[in-house]
Homo-oligomer: 508 residues x 2
């Protein structure tokens, strides 16, 4: 049969078959990654890296193959003639976006970037260990150079940073982010000063104790079970750094990490990762393989983890239900701590050096700092060698914190060494999305927070599922936010949320 005469239906069947094949390779890779972090014996690392590289190679080969290109070009003609229905258009456009991006990057370039980042990661680890930025500098310079090159190859309108951001938060521009982050920064820097001046002094070490890992694990399972994590379609395991991964909607796995002195270390990670997992478990199995069965963006994904971890999981009503249970399991030290005192302590605010350990108020300032640096680096208005100085001065300006060394400053995060530039802003976008989404949920669900106090999270979870999860990439990030909240993404909801909550806690 002549390829060009094939009917639309057949072309779409072919597309779906190819996409399914790619997705199953992706599932196998996700399992290889999961196992690497959770159960792989220590000497398995070298072969594992090769097995992963091999599957990545097969995936790339299939994705940019002549046959696949031919197929996409055929469908592209149909699209231009307006012959695709809505779902077909969504599927085709997203695949075409990914395909075009991948085709624009020559194999030689991809190899260079992969190899540079692979080497850079161990160098970064060494530099951090020795707290010496100079060791990492030549690699960072090479990575920045390559990422500038990537932006050129991919193409952009205003800023080369847009081309990088687009990989993690499609359709978002650095200009939009800049405006939103600027407002947010203004508010946060000011609000933080007020908190610092508050007469309320909180010492969260009263929450420390001796918490057996096995008992913590059971409590975590109880909490995330109540949230609706489906253990028939997932697992909770232990790894050095907590993470979530999904092979398909029927097998989504999360991990946490335990500190026997501090119960919240494992619990807050478990709640955060469950937020991610509920998104993946909420995608429709029948859409597996196509963009309709995929999450929208890093930012929207993060909104689901942060809405559960912070807005719900550090809400007084959440603990009205869980605190009596926590007390029963761990009478020490909670026996003598009231719910109100407990609530204030878990919401303790203090500017600090490390992003991953920071509280809800200061967290976004860590992100804004990184976004500004990344953008300037890629646009070429600053150079990598000046980063420690710039970093330290911004930390002082935004958070009032003195950075004592590179390890707890510029070298703290793994992202840049892995070539992830444009990723950081999605963390703060996630926080903003989460506040805006939660506000809409409260309008839709009568007495939402009272339900939490009764241990009923089903309404809320199903609301998220029906409003967000089941739609896959049916909406863009901003399209979704407009659909749910009637407004574009803005910082107002987050600012209001923080103001209300912390005014109360710190009696401002």
């Amino acid at each position: 049969m002549n390829y060009f005469r094939k009917m639309k239906k057949e072309l779409f069947e072919e597309l779906k078959t190819s996409l399914l094949e790619l997705s199953h390779i992706g599932s196998a890779m996700a399992l290889l990654h999961w196992d690497q972090e959770v159960y792989m014996p220590k000497n398995g690392a070298e072969f594992r890296a090769k097995t992963l590289a091999n599957l990545a190679g097969i995936m790339h080969e299939k994705f940019v193959s002549k046959e696949f290109e031919k197929l996409l070009k055929q469908i592209s003609k149909l699209e231009k003639n307006n012959e695709l229905n809505k779902n077909e258009t969504i599927i085709f456009s997203e695949i075409w976006r990914q395909f075009s991006r991948e085709k624009k990057l020559p194999l030689e370039f991809v190899r260079d970037l992969t190899e540079t980042c692979s080497n850079a990661q161990s160098v970064w680890a060494e530099a951090r260990k020795k707290s010496d930025f100079k060791i990492f500098l030549p690699f960072l310079e090479k990575i920045v150079e390559l990422k500038r090159k990537e932006a050129e190859l991919v193409g952009f309108e205003d800023s080369p940073y847009d081309a990088l951001l687009d990989e993690y938060e499609p359709q978002m521009t650095s200009q939009e982010v800049s405006i939103i982050f600027y407002e947010l920064k203004e508010f946060l820097v000011d609000f933080l000063k007020k908190i610092k001046k508050s007469k309320i002094k909180i010492n969260p070490t009263i929450l420390n104790g001796k918490f057996e890992t096995e008992k913590q694990k059971k409590f975590n399972e109880f909490v995330i079970g109540k949230m609706g994590f489906d253990f028939g379609c997932g697992r909770l395991d232990t790894s050095t750094h907590p993470f979530s991964t999904s092979f398909n909607p029927e097998d989504t796995r999360i991990t946490t990490s335990y500190d026997e002195k501090n119960l919240f270390y494992s619990l807050s990670s478990a709640i955060h990762e469950t937020g991610h997992a509920l998104y993946e478990q909420g995608l429709l199995s029948e859409n597996f393989g196509t963009p309709l069965g995929e999450s929208i963006s890093h930012g929207i994904h993060e909104s689901q983890s942060r809405i559960w971890e912070k807005i719900v999981g550090q809400n007084i009503n959440f603990w009205k239900y869980f605190y009596p249970k926590l007390k029963k399991e761990f009478s020490q030290p909670f026996e003598k701590i009231s719910l109100e005192e407990f609530y204030k302590n878990i919401n303790y605010v203090k500017p600090s050096l490390i992003r991953t350990e920071s509280d809800e108020v200061t967290y976004n300032l860590h992100i804004i700092l990184r976004f500004e640096i990344e953008k300037d680096l890629i646009e070429g208005t600053i150079e990598a060698k000046d980063l420690p100085k710039i970093w330290n001065s911004k930390m002082k300006e935004y958070l009032g914190v003195n950075v004592p060394n590179d390890a707890s400053g510029i070298l703290q995060d793994v992202h840049w060494s892995g070539g992830s530039i444009g990723y950081f802003p999605t963390y703060a976008l996630g926080n903003l999305y989460s506040a805006q989404i939660f506000d809409a949920a409260k309008k839709d669900i009568l007495n939402l927070e009272k339900e939490f106090a009764l241990g009923n999270f089903e309404h809320f979870r199903e609301w998220l599922r029906n409003k967000i999860h089941i739609h896959g990439k049916n909406f863009s990030a901003n399209g979704l936010i407009k659909e749910i909240t009637g407004e574009e993404l803005n910082s107002k909801y987050f600012i209001d949320y923080i103001t209300d909550k912390y005014k109360n806690i710190y009696e401002l």
Copy 2:
């Protein structure tokens, strides 16, 4: 460059690259299988089957691709001109053997077989549950028909059964197996009668007790650690049916299954699977991907598990070392049982219905029965519908056992429903190889069994490693046996081993 002018070195580099790629896909599939049995949440099954089928499809597609065929044909010319060195010849011949076999089976046929077996497995499970062979019969008939067809497609000289056996035990013929098994059967049937008449009565229920799973696990880890299982390159986990798998020599995993009343259930499986794992951990990493980095055959693999499980692990000297430790961990019931009494009890012989629960003396009779039936079925001298009658009459003749129903008779094993015909004989071959190999080890290593009594297994393990493991497919099964023992495979060593051991235990 003209393909035909490529130098030998380049062609071999290309071959190795292709083989490595296939092996890495194989590693990913092995992890997907392992995870399925060990950690996968229950609802993950449907997608997992699809992910596995997908990778199997990619592997097949690459293996029988035009490019790969072209490459093999080029190398084939070099081989005909005697331009390959020894290692190259081994690599090429094995790949060519596999390739030719796969090319002879039309895609249509493979699909039919895969689908039939996939359906047959659940039907077999149901038939076994209801203990009704009639339910399974139409599927078994179809499978036999397809396997006869497979034999025709693959081609054979004497018996069509040879074409099937060749998949599991390359180069072995059904005639050779028949001769060896005949001698073995004559001996075993007679020897078993003697044991039955012995005045020594053993009641192994005295070994039962209450053994906590966690404590058993620790003891298993201690034992297999002493045997030399490398936990840096492997893991021990729990699954319903014990098994071993290997992703590469640096990541080889085993499982066992626990019965809290019977400690030997988990321990003997752990020792058995460790025997398999030591083979895989003993292959050379630098040969990964080529036949030089692969085990020889199912029979040789089974020899490594059985030599450890039975010949070593049920040897009085092994327990001279481990029994005091076992007593310390589990004072009940072992406190009052002497080493000699313990030894007799773990070597208790009793004809029984189920192969997997049978002892060292009767085990091979279960296999011989299956081999005879399989061979006759494939050669067409018996028909599937008559199997229960034939099975039951052979059980009576060889083991003196009355089969009360199909579930504990003809339906007990999963193999046939999965299309594995020609697999069973490798279990008994493994036992014969193991006795012949152990005899050679005793000649090479002075005081071998005394070393066991001192807890020193290193000499023996390294001997196996150097004589067998590191060579990969450098030898055929029979080539290896001749190299190590100076003789072809024969039943004498196993017969002598059984005679010596059980004459003593049963005072014959």
